[in-house]
Amino acid sequence: MSTSQSKRRISNGAAFMIAVFVPITIFLIVQLFSDPAVFLTTILKSLAMGSTYAIIALGFVLIFKATEVVNFSQGALAMIGALFISFLVADETIPIVPWWSEGNLVPIRNPIYDLGLPSWMAWGLSFIVALFFAALIGLFLERVAIRPMIGQPLFSVAVITLGLEISLRVLANDSAKLKLRNTNTPWSGKGFNIGDNFLYWSFFAAMIAAAISVVAVFLFYRSKLGIAMRAVARDQEAAMAQGIPIGRVFAIAWGAGAALAAVGGLFATEPPIKQTGAVDAETSLVAFRALPAVILGGLDSVQGAILGGLIVGSAEIFAGQYLSGYTSVLGAGYPLVIPYVVMIIGLIVKPYGLFGTEEIRRV
């Protein structure tokens, strides 16, 4: 492809972006001046939504960067993670009804709550333990289903994750159905008012969690292991020749990805995504809602995941707030498909996402 051609395409893309973004910006400025309080809450809400998407998107990116595979089972992992959190912090039961208990749940007591710590600290500790368990699940799945596929076509590995998704989601759904699985966060249901608009603390918790995850991921990529992971992503064979243990790198990527999914799953049970604060069948769908964020940002870019998450999240919230007059045309629940519309428009302009590396094809 000659340079002049690629230059022309970029300028076309820029023109397209301007054509899309200028009217939106003008519309938003008008809204800002007509009702600042609503606008402010919408912005905070969309930041929270974007942060939740960004956390899940980071999980996708972590796994993609190491293994070059989109992990379609991220949603199931998010739900399993959220369930672990719920088991540890909310109700002292394990989800399986064993044959000796004659149909009753078996009570187990989380020992962290007996230490005499303040409740928020006990919650935090249990949360970390739950993340650890979620990471173990990730390691296990990688060992069982992904490791045997090293060197196979990427599509096959992606389809394996699809297989994991269906199986795990059914199992997770069945353990969530037995009783209400609250995640009992210290901030659950609480918040404050700005004018007439209620703001949940969970909005800010999501933002903080996203910020911590982003910093952690950035620091991780600076560590020796992170560099090894980047090398594996670049060229598996060359990395192996340099003595990098590819299997271990894959395992760590999956473990970290599963832990991030668990954090995402926790925030998927809270506002702005849901009001109940309980894990249910919808929790696993959050990954499919975050998928457009990853694709829009570019599958292999951490910045892309954050920006993609924010764009998609804000598009969803703002469309829900300001287009609600057109519900009869757009259909009830239209904000849920806005991420996909944004993704398709974005991909028409940039086929590899905003920050994704373009695949260089050699003849």
Binding site: I160, D174, V329, Y334, M343
Partner: protein, 435 residues
């Protein structure tokens, strides 16, 4: 073997639809068996009269896996599977042949179903419908889906690999949402109940009594037949036409171009294969198959909501392709029957077990261990229809099985059932020598 199976003396001989004598025999046998299947076949379809067989405990009153021949419920499952063959062959052209991974096949099935309903369905206050005859709505459904495929393909052609998979995944979500909007409901009907779809009756135009009635029982060529049997025969005929089409496409210029794109798109382009054009053709053909299959499927089921054309259905098609063997027509057919009949086999098996569990003896005790009637019983299959927990009920167990089967096949037998068949064939080809 009658002669050396891989020896071809001319190009024409090699590119025949059925190149070897054995294949011709198998094909004829399969077609005869297919058209005999809806009718009662004495020994297997019911309890045997032979006293020797009756005394054997397990197969005394019909084998659980083989007694379906001629059974009305099983005929419906078989028709389902044959319709799914048509749709899966479509995905095979796109994914197996042209290498474009699509998770949006359910969307195209849905487009076909509602195009068919729009053309052939009966209008009510809440839904559209023009009541046209089947020779219009069935091809029309395919053409409608193909048009949508052509509209989508310019976006799809620019994308590669997993990006394409995820965009097509987006189509599924968008499609279900469109079925929920006020204007979408005019096509799709109520979001929870769905609308009624046109019936498979051959008419010349909109007259009252159809020329050939398929949806009502009657006699064909002097044989009394139920509607299930008639539908089975009709669907089987449609399936054979599409199988021929799918086999034939591989022998043409288009088929070779698609395979060249799959193997190395940039090399194909260098060799003069117009990538854009052929990807568009692949999308259009695949959607045509999906559209026809979708209309048939909806008509066969009778009433279904738009939410049925969901991601699970798309994954089911991917599973069919991978379990059967991607890129091969025979594999796709095997995969379709395997994936669609597996849930019914599991269900039939658990029903059969629960019948046995009532009695006494070793079979009863084995059945009791496998099944769990009450919550807390130790057994992998639950007989209750709605259990909120483990053990899983039959429906959930099937979904888990799908997932596990996809994983197991990809890890241990990437060529799928077709690969297993090749191994078995090669074993017998060399028999009694090991190599």
């Amino acid at each position: 073997m009658f002669r050396r199976p891989n020896l071809y003396t001319s190009y024409q001989a090699e590119t025949q639809v059925l190149p070897t004598f054995t294949k011709k025999v198998i094909a004829i046998f399969a077609i005869v068996a297919l058209f005999l299947m809806p009718f009662d076949v004495p020994i297997i379809s019911g309890p045997t009269e032979l006293p020797i067989l009756r005394s054997i405990p397990l197969i005394g009153d019909g084998l659980p896996f083989f007694r379906f021949l001629g059974d009305a419920a099983w005929l419906r499952y078989m028709s389902d599977a044959m319709i799914v063959v048509v749709a899966a062959l479509g995905l095979n052209i796109l994914t197996g042949m042209a290498g474009q991974v699509s998770l949006g096949h359910a969307f195209f099935l849905g487009v076909g179903a509602y195009t068919g309903a729009f053309l052939g369905g009966h209008a009510t206050d809440s839904v559209y419908g023009h009541g046209l005859p089947m020779w219009i709505w069935l091809p029309g459904a395919g053409v409608g889906a193909a048009l949508v495929g052509i509209i989508v393909s310019p976006v799809a052609v620019r994308l590669r690999g997993l990006y394409l998979a995820i965009v097509t995944l987006g189509l599924v979500f968008l499609g279900i949402h469109m079925g929920n909007t006020d204007w979408g409901r005019k096509f799709a009907g109520d979001p929870s109940l769905g609308r009624s779809f046109p019936e498979m009756d051959l008419r010349v135009w909109k007259e009252e009594t159809p020329l050939v009635s398929i949806s009502e029982k009657g006699s064909w060529f002097g044989v009394e037949m139920s509607s299930n049997q008639k539908e089975f025969l009709f669907v089987a005929a449609v399936m054979l036409v599409f199988i021929f089409f799918a086999v034939n496409i591989k022998r043409t210029r288009t088929g070779r171009a698609l395979q060249a794109i799959r193997d190395r798109d940039i090399a194909a382009e260098v060799m003069g294969v117009a990538e854009f054009k052929y990807k568009l053709v692949a999308f259009a053909t695949s959607s045509f198959f999906a559209g026809v299959a979708g209309a048939l499927y909806a008509s066969h089921i009778g009433k279904m909501p738009a939410a049925q054309f969901n991601l699970i259905l798309s994954i089911e098609f991917i599973a069919i392709l991978l379990i059967g063997g991607a890129g091969t027509v025979a594999g796709t057919i095997m995969g379709s029957f395997f994936v669609i009949l597996l849930p019914e086999l599991v269900k039939d098996f658990s029903d059969w077990l629960s019948e046995r569990a009532e009695g006494e003896g070793i079979v009863a005790s084995v059945s009791e261990v496998i099944l769990s009637g009450n919550q807390g019983d130790f057994g992998p299959i639950s007989t209750a229809t709605q259990t909120p927990n483990y053990p899983l009920n039959v429906f959930d167990l099937n979904l888990v099985l799908y997932g596990v089967l996809i994983i197991v096949f990809l890890i241990f037998e990437p060529l799928g059932l077709y690969g297993i068949w090749i191994k078995v064939r090669n074993y017998w080809k060399r028999w009694p020598f090991s190599y």
